[in-house]
């Protein structure tokens, strides 16, 4: 637990001591702020007996601009995505269209301050030693749930020279899905022109995906939300409420409760249900509180939807299905 204490105290390791596993993890998280590079990336998702593969070209400009070019099987550009912490857009060449959407900025300092401790409570970070990845010397880190905790496992091959992630393999909580990412042809660059991250001039059609969210303490949200507020009471150990948000989409609003263990997210959404009961297309029939429940898959996570008390509820996350069923079963009204 020395690493845990050190991390929480913000202690610096003495210059003479070799970096610990957690030190390596922190370096890995900081790496994008220091290094610009280009690479080819291959993402492979295996779920059950099925494998899906995506090839991309990746360009990263320190500290915070990244572009992903998605390639078809024939190597044609299918879409370009740019995230620059301030803006986020996708360009679809086939339609000449740009979609702007809220960016999801990665704040390394905030992460270390707010989440690393929680991660270390629930996961071990192990240094599995020196190895090679993408033809370069690398360090293999293994982030795995502690005994009794449910969550995914991630192996990260950290470049010894630049600390960037050369390769990673995530295994879902139930062990059935793997999501792997692998770089090849990595070229570290001193500079990358900012123009490479500018939206194409000839893109005409534009869509904005907007968000209006109020982040509230749970009691305040319960008061603003004019319907019963249902809350999980039987969460697996280590998951705690990260935020409670009220969001709008046009005339409709919905609640989003986020539960987090430092690494893995579980979400509960609730909105006012239409009168139509859900249609289950799955061969597997599950029910929650006496009503039908429907599963969807977004490897590595699952989603479970059901209706009760006039609301439609959707639970989403990378947990084994039986755990999600258990959480859904324990969802109860919170007193105002």
């Amino acid at each position: 637990m020395g690493a845990l204490i050190a991390a929480q105290a913000g202690a610096r390791t003495p210059a003479a001591a070799p970096p610990s596993a957690v030190d390596w993890l922190k370096k890995n998280v900081r790496a994008p702020t220091r290094t610009s590079y280009r690479a080819a990336e291959t993402i492979t998702v295996t779920v059950g007996g099925r494998v899906l593969r995506q090839r991309l070209r990746l360009v990263h400009r320190a500290p915070e601009s990244t572009s992903w070019t998605y390639l078809s099987l024939q190597g044609k550009v299918e879409r370009i995505v740019v995230d620059s912490q301030r803006s986020h857009w996708q360009y679809l060449p086939r339609r000449g269209q740009i979609i702007f959407s809220p960016s999801f900025p990665v704040d390394q300092e905030l992460w270390q301050e707010r989440y690393l401790g929680r991660l270390l409570e629930n996961y071990t970070v192990r240094d599995a030693g020196k190895t090679l990845a993408a033809g370069r010397p690398a360090r293999l880190l293994v982030v795995a749930p502690r005994s009794g905790h449910e969550g995914p496992t991630k192996r990260i091959w950290v470049d010894a020279a630049t600390w960037i992630t050369l390769k990673s393999i995530l295994v879902s909580s139930d062990g059935r899905t793997t999501v792997a990412s692998e770089l090849s042809g990595l070229r570290v660059e001193k500079t990358i022109p900012a123009a490479e991250f500018a939206p194409p001039a000839n893109a005409k059609k534009q869509t904005v995906i907007y968000e209006r969210a109020a982040v509230l303490p749970l009691p305040a949200l319960a008061r603003q939300w004019r319907h019963p507020l249902l809350v999980p009471h039987d969460l697996p150990r280590g998951y705690s409420l990260e935020s409670a948000r009220l969001l709008s989409r046009g005339r409709r609003s919905f609640v989003h409760l986020r539960y987090f263990d430092g690494f893995n997210v579980v979400s509960l959404f609730e909105d006012v249900s239409s009168s139509k009961p859900p249609v289950s297309r799955s061969r597997r029939d599950d029910s929650i509180h006496g009503g039908p429940a429907v599963w969807h898959s977004y490897p590595p996570f699952h989603s479970l939807s059901w209706r009760e008390q006039g609301l439609k509820l959707t639970l989403m996350g990378d947990l084994p299905r039986r755990s999600l069923l258990g959480i859904a079963d324990g969802v109860r009204r919170v007193a105002r």
């Binding site: 295996t46 779920v47 059950g48 007996g49 099925r50 059935r176 793997t178 799955s282 299905r321």
Partner: protein, 179 residues
């Protein structure tokens, strides 16, 4: 005559192989299940003609390959992945060996995928021969009995199928075998 118990016992002895053949032929879990179900129904109806003591699995493969090849000719091939399949989580059946080594799991899955993709490029006749001879280890003679064609035909189809597989599997073989 209630041969259901006998029939069930025989099926139980070959379950893995039966499903494997169906999966390698059809390439999709749902189609594989359909093929298995319909073939077993047909097999049970014809069970009176089966001579106990001879190879039940080969007898069943005969029914399965005939069903598969006959139906396939009448059906247009659809290449896109169906949303229904993907969303049917947990029903697709997973590898028994849920190895805790994700690298091995990844490689194993990649092999199965590229093999299935390569098999998908073969015509049904060629695929049937590869599945029977190479996947299931039947001899040319046994295969010729199952498929109802001369041994020379089995041989030439198998050789040509392997020639085609060679092209598709070669980059993969080099990549994996190079370790």
């Amino acid at each position: 005559m209630n041969g259901l118990d006998d029939f069930q016992a025989l099926v139980a002895g070959y379950q893995d192989a039966i499903y494997r053949v169906a999966y390698r032929l059809t390439g999709h879990p749902e189609d594989a299940e359909d093929l298995v179900q319909e073939s077993l129904i047909e097999a049970f109806q014809a069970f009176g003609r089966f001579r106990l003591g001879t190879r039940f699995d080969h007898w069943l493969y005969r029914i399965m390959t005939r069903n598969y090849i006959d139906r396939f000719r009448r059906r247009r091939r659809l290449d896109t992945v169906s949303l229904e399949e993907v969303s049917r989580d947990g029903e697709t059946g997973d590898f028994a060996d849920s190895s805790s080594d994700p690298q091995a799991l990844l490689e194993k899955n990649q092999w199965s995928e590229s093999l299935q993709a390569a098999l998908a490029q073969l015509t049904p006749d060629f695929r049937a021969v590869v599945v029977l001879c190479d996947a299931q280890g039947l001899s040319y003679e046994e295969t010729s009995k199952v498929l109802g064609c001369p041994i020379g035909t089995v041989r030439s189809r198998l050789h040509r199928a392997r020639c085609q597989l060679r092209t598709w599997l070669r980059p993969h073989v080099e990549a994996v075998g190079g370790k």
